[in-house]
Amino acid sequence: MKNLSILAIAVVAIVSLIACSKNDPQPINEDELITTITTTLKNGSETTTLEYKDLDGDGPYEPSVNVSGNLKAATSYIVTVTFLNETTNPIGNITEEILAEGVDHQLFFQAPSAIGTFAYADQDANGKPIGLSFTLTTGAATTGNLTVTLRHQPNKSADGVATGDITNAGGATDAVVNYPIVVE
């Protein structure tokens, strides 16, 4: 057994030498990681932001959700959504890349119908919505969750998809976040 241990130590030493001869590697640059999704609602000069942040990507930490304030009932909002990668320096802006590949992406908005109605306010090269900007017309006072979903390669021609119905959209989910909102 003693000889075996000596052998073991020798082998470990060799491996260490092989390993140490290399430079320390650098962490992977996760170019397309989305860490932060910010939904900004504007009504004139009033701005409400809904922020969803998960800085450790696929790691175990729970995301944080931050809602800056309540929405007003029976009000029209112009809404924009931005996607950032805050793990890189400088911070990566994925919104622009989604816009550039607009035909392959679409955002969907889901909330209880009492909250209000959504309408797309942008278009891709084929005249189909992308959803980086849209309008929300709130209903009466209520509370609920707003779910924003980014789908990759959805079937934009499927029934209802162009008007924001996710049911037939298919595609893969690149991001999906929930914001608790209050309409007052």
Binding site: V12, V15, D54, D56, I115, T173
Partner: protein
Amino acid sequence: MQKTHLLFCLLFLGTIYSQNTIGGKITDENNKALEKCHVHISSQSTNSRKDGSFSFSNFPSGTAKVYISYIGYKPIDTIIEVKGNLIINFKMKQKTEQLEEVVLKHKDNYFNHSVLEDKIIEKTIEKYSSQSLGNVLKEVAGVALLKSGSTIVKPIINGLHSSRVPVFNNNVKLEDQQWGIEHSPNFDVNAAGKITVLKGASGLQYSGDAIGGIVIIEPFSVKKDTIFGKTIMTTESNGRGGTISSSLHKGNFCDWSWNAQGSSKYYGDRTSPSYVLSNTGNREANFSGDLKYAGKKFDVAAFYSLYNATIAILSASHIGNVNDLYNAINNQTPWVVKDFTHTIKNPKQKIQHHLAKLNYNYYVKDGESISLQYAFQFNNRKEFDLRTVIPDTKPALDLDLMTHTLNADYKLSKENWDFKTGVSGSYQNNAANPNTGIRPLIPSYDKLDAGIYAIFGQHFTPDFSLDAGVRYDFSTIQSTKFYLKSRWNERNYSPSFDSFITKDFGTQWLTKPTFTFQNFSASAGLQYAFGTDYEWYFNVSHAVRNPNPSEFFSDGLHHSSGMIELGDLRLKQEKSNKIGSSLQKKWNTLKVTITPFLNYIEGYMFMKPTGFETTIRGAFPVWEYEQTNALLTGIDFNSEWAISKNWQHRLIVAYVNGKDKTNGGALIDMPPLNINNRIQFSKKEWRNLTFELQNEIVFRQTHFPNNNFETNIIVDGNLSPVTVDISTPPSAYNLLHFSSYFQFKMSKNSEATLGFSVFNLLDTKYRDYLNRQRYFVDEMGRNLQLQLKINY
């Protein structure tokens, strides 16, 4: 113009004893024993007995001339090379003139008398020319398939797979990252001359960690001064593609001989009975060849093979989060069905595997030999995914796995015993390309292995032998891996593994986890023939398997399965104690084999769902590698019945039961009971015309753990809880397959076989419990196949 002819199957039962014995059986084309054939080998001669058998003992190694004659039959006139005990069965032909085909293989590979080996011969392998290694292995009772779609297929032996079933190609263990469930062995079946399946870990000369079994592939080799070749062309309706494989063999006893073989596959989308399985095409371009020089006392050979494949991954299996998985399971229809195409899109895998080896055998004297072997393997695996914004041409995973292996073996055979010992050493480096933009599922690492073994077989009487073996393996692995600090903490790696941390990168630790293992494995058993044609095999083995890199280091989201997979640095070795036995009985027209087994595995590693993690893509179930004590019991049944001159029947039944002894309940992914019935009609007089109808019944797996989990989906804008049923196995299924072929002569020196077969004749719609894509799509539907084989 009497052309000598011989066509034979060689059966190498158990043993090598020095002052070699040569035995066998002489039959006619219908397997009827021929009595009183004159058998002449070198200077010895004898007459075959009533049952057609003959035997010679005290036969020196070397070249021997064989001459067998019988009135009314063509004499057999050939030369064989004797290096150990040989059992050669000769078939004598009456009249038909056929191409002379000489294939001789030497029995020098297996010491394992106490385990009944399952062999797949070349003729059977040819039928699977267009398919994968796994599909061929299913010919053996007790082998099931673990699939990820229709083209990624790996063998499960008695309920165990992946790292537990090493594959040896031409005496080299394939190092191709097949520990991952969605990676199949990187091997082209067209390069195999013979495949042997050894259930359990008794093949200690190969490895000490084959808890499930060993697959041994031997290339085609010829030991006669001749040159010949063959080409197999296969075209298939499902996938609208084909396979072509060609090989040339130059045989020789002494002097130079060589083999060369190449094959190519091209397939588009497969289809299920109701829809196109979008993005399921594949391509392959493979080559293998060797060059050998045989002198009087030595031979030296160089071998090279390349496996080169592009495999599309079903579009519908690429899902986002747990909601997508829930929808896929509940809708029972795939979310992407496009028109048929040959084009392969992302996700896909691109794999290249190079294997080069040199070996040298030296025959010291009769029954004593030394062999040396060096092998180099390089495996590159690129996996391409649907990227959010990065161009699809950039791989999501890019691994280079390089392995050097050295083996030295010594063998000594005496009259009643034989002994083999050897040492092996290997160095392996895995390099994960950091430029993929995704943290690699498998990190870079260096690994060193060394092993030493000795096996011994004793032959007490012709009917009784014992064998035993021991092996010691040393292994050390050092990985270079970044851990998110959040993950390091969540895993509770601090403080036990803090010594692995080498550098602080803000949100991540750079770590160098290092592990060293020393393992002992052993095997012992007996073979006993009794009564009238009864044979009994009994073997006990102890094997130890180290955690593989995926079990240790997996850390992240696996898109193809929609789950977060987490390895564990705390894992220990897995230890198997297996008792395997086979009982074989031969009657005149019937041969029955039953093989029960019991395998108790201490520290069995498996993945278990433990909860959820929420990411920006939504919630994902988390599966962690855990260990438990497992008990696998089961039985394989095989019968071959020659009903009449033209009709044959084969029945294969396999059952395995996997129990989690620590936590109670069933083990996941155990093959359900399956029954395979084949009936064959063949008529030699009609150009060997053969029809076969096969019925494959796979029962529903009723023993499975419940891993279902709850999640929230959005219904009418509101979140509502649902159960995601990932556990319930699919229903039983019953398939019919048909195949037929006949032979004809193309010219004086070439013969052809034309085959037509239909897989899933009734276009049955089904899903298989052991297919990872069963949540998303049905299995392949009917497939018509036309195959032309030309021997020249």
